[in-house]
């Protein structure tokens, strides 16, 4: 336990100090995206990595978070901080409502159901005038000369550094929460459900309840990420926020970083976000799609050659140095 916390603190410290050594916007941007997606990965990990219920629809919660804060700021000028919290609650409520019909389903049927829910929500937003439908929302900009506290209050900054720290705080909170949950009764129960539904029931666990709790917490965190992301990029539309690509990006970096492990998402994000940013900056821009082509190819190569995720490699190295395997890289329920 103590040893784990140390690794965690080192990761956070590195992420806190590293941005100070460079003024490059691209690097700061990569770190911000990295932290947002790592946080999303932590959230997704709760329901899929720990509880074993594959979700392909986390973009739904991400999008709801983004829209809630953006809409109440755009319509009523209310601070996005409040919108963020509100978004979290709305996303949690949606998660609770969708969980009831979805959790009866097993394996792929559940995965496709989450995908369907995200698509339905997307379609609703596309044709909903109150949220500007398919046009999307451009978040109103506050004057560049505003005081820092005003900027903080409205979550708009003139440079990227404050974003790094806001995202870092969010990520730190998320990873500590997940670490705490993993070692608590709930973490044990979720993993038991993942490993065997029947055993879970036989030892007194109500699987439906615990999956529901995991989903609600997961949705809440995802929504916070959505709000931050919306404020950061200042423009949102349904196709971008609720896309399958966002859902799959979360799956991708968590699975390849190490699913069911709290370090998985940050490791995965640390590899994939800079990689995608790098290919985008170096090769993109011409609209030829060559950046995503190469990125796609890299994903294929990585999955082919390191199927157990990067953390599997770390684990193997650690084992060589005499550390006992701790387990916990989950098998995910995919058999229908």
């Amino acid at each position: 336990m103590v040893k784990n916390k140390k690794v965690l603190l080192i990761i956070i410290l590195v992420l806190a100090v590293a941005p100070l050594f460079t003024k490059a916007k691209a690097v700061h941007n990569a770190i911000i995206l990295l932290l947002i997606f790592a946080t999303l990965g932590e959230a997704w990990n709760l329901i899929t990595g720990f509880a074993g219920q594959t979700s392909f629809g986390h973009a739904a919660f991400f999008g709801i978070g983004a829209y809630t804060s953006a809409v109440i700021f755009y319509r009523y000028g209310i601070t996005p901080w409040l919108g963020m919290i509100l978004g979290g609650f709305i996303a949690s409520a949606v998660a609770a409502v969708m969980s009831y019909p979805c959790f009866r389903l097993k394996g792929h049927y559940f995965a496709i159901a989450t995908l369907a829910v995200a698509e339905i929500i997307k379609q609703v937003f596309v044709s909903w005038n109150y949220v500007e439908g398919a046009t999307g929302i451009s978040i109103p900009i506050i004057p560049r000369s505003s005081y820092f506290l005003t900027r903080l209050f409205y979550l708009q900054f003139n440079d990227k550094l404050p974003w790094v720290y806001i995202c870092l705080v969010l990520f730190t909170a998320a990873i500590f929460l997940c670490s705490f949950l993993e070692n608590s009764k709930m973490g044990y129960y979720l993993k038991a459900i993942r490993e065997s539904h029947e055993v879970a029931e036989a030892i007194g666990i109500n699987p439906a309840n615990y999956k529901l709790y995991a989903m609600i917490i997961s949705a809440f965190i995802s929504a916070l990420c959505g709000s931050i992301y919306a404020q950061y990029i200042l423009y949102i539309d349904p196709f971008m926020m609720f896309s399958l690509d966002i859902s799959m990006k979360i799956v991708l970096l968590t699975v390849l970083g190490g699913i069911g492990n709290i370090y998985g998402p940050i490791i995965g994000a640390a590899i994939f976000i800079p990689l995608s940013e790098f290919t985008r900056i170096k090769l993109g821009g011409s609209g030829t799609g060559i950046d995503l082509m190469i990125y796609g190819l890299l994903i294929v190569l990585i999955t082919c050659f390191h199927p157990k995720g990067v953390i599997g490699i770390v684990g193997r190295i650690a084992e060589k140095f005499g550390r006992k395997p701790t387990g916990g890289e989950g098998s995910i329920e995919t058999v229908s």
Binding site: N183, S184, K185, Y188, Y189, K191, A192, R194, E195, S196, E198, V199, A200, E201, A202, I203, G204, I205, N206, P207, G260, K324, P325, T326, G327, G328, E329, G330, S331
Partner: protein, 246 residues
């Protein structure tokens, strides 16, 4: 002795197949009851009916005067009836300690208390030395122990063991027999489904025999062994006739 768990006229069908028909028996406080019968006699189905995994078609299960028929498995477990599985279901990606700890969390929120209960259960089942082994890497005998330890960690009043000796060798069976007696001494009641007669007879207080879904007899071990119906069920009519000659 007052009745602890009463199984009353349980009937269970799958389509046209009758798995249990009008089965009744009683488990008293601090008693080891064994459920025996040839393959396909409906033992595991009955187990599933008692523990809430199936809802019986007719009949009821009464625990300490309370009707628990049709309750969810996790609710029944909470009341103090915990089962193990015939096909062992070790939580593969978790260590032995974590496996057992999942059970221990039923009675506490605190991790420290759960660890205490776990240590006790591991000690009791002789698994302390293997607590850091991954579930996936255990031998079958150890998996069965984990199964029992995990159930034990939920602090049940009645422990239901589904073929916890099948596939084990002589010494391992002896260990499990001793474990059962130790559990009884601790104050638990046990319901055991088992094939291995040598293991069952010395430890049981009462034996219930099922055949083709029906209860054919019930009684003290020695009486049951010599019961003609039982021999017929196990060996078939021809062998039964032969055995009479001697």
């Amino acid at each position: 002795m007052k009745p602890f768990l009463e199984i009353k006229n349980i009937t269970m069908k799958f389509g046209s197949l009758t798995a249990n028909e009008d089965v009744s028996f009683t488990i008293h406080d601090n008693e080891i009851v064994s459920l025996i019968g040839p393959n396909g006699a409906g033992k595991t189905t009955l187990f599933n009916c008692i523990t809430g995994f199936y809802k019986p078609l007719a009949g009821c299960v009464v625990y300490r005067g309370r009707d628990i028929t049709g309750m969810a498995p996790h609710e029944i477990c909470r009341l103090g009836i915990t089962r193990t599985f015939q096909i062992v279901k070790t939580l593969n990606e978790m260590t032995v300690e974590q496996n057992v700890m999942t059970g221990a969390f039923l009675r506490t929120r605190s991790r420290r208390e759960a660890a205490g209960i776990t240590a006790e259960a591991l000690e009791f089942t002789g698994l302390s030395g293997k607590k850091d082994t991954l579930g996936a890497n255990l031998t079958i005998a150890d998996r069965k122990r984990v199964e029992i330890a995990r159930a034990l960690a939920t602090k049940p009043h009645i422990l239901m063991l589904d073929e916890c000796m099948a596939g084990l060798n002589k010494t391992e069976i002896k260990d499990v027999m001793e474990l059962c007696l130790k559990l009884k001494k601790k104050g638990l009641s046990l319901l055991i489904v088992e094939h291995i007669m040598e293991a069952i007879i010395p430890i049981s207080d009462n034996i219930v025999v099922l055949n083709a879904g029906k209860k054919i007899t019930e009684g003290a071990p020695q009486d049951v062994v010599n019961n003609e119906e039982v021999i017929k069920a196990y060996l078939g009519d021809r062998y039964h006739a032969k055995s009479k000659k001697y």
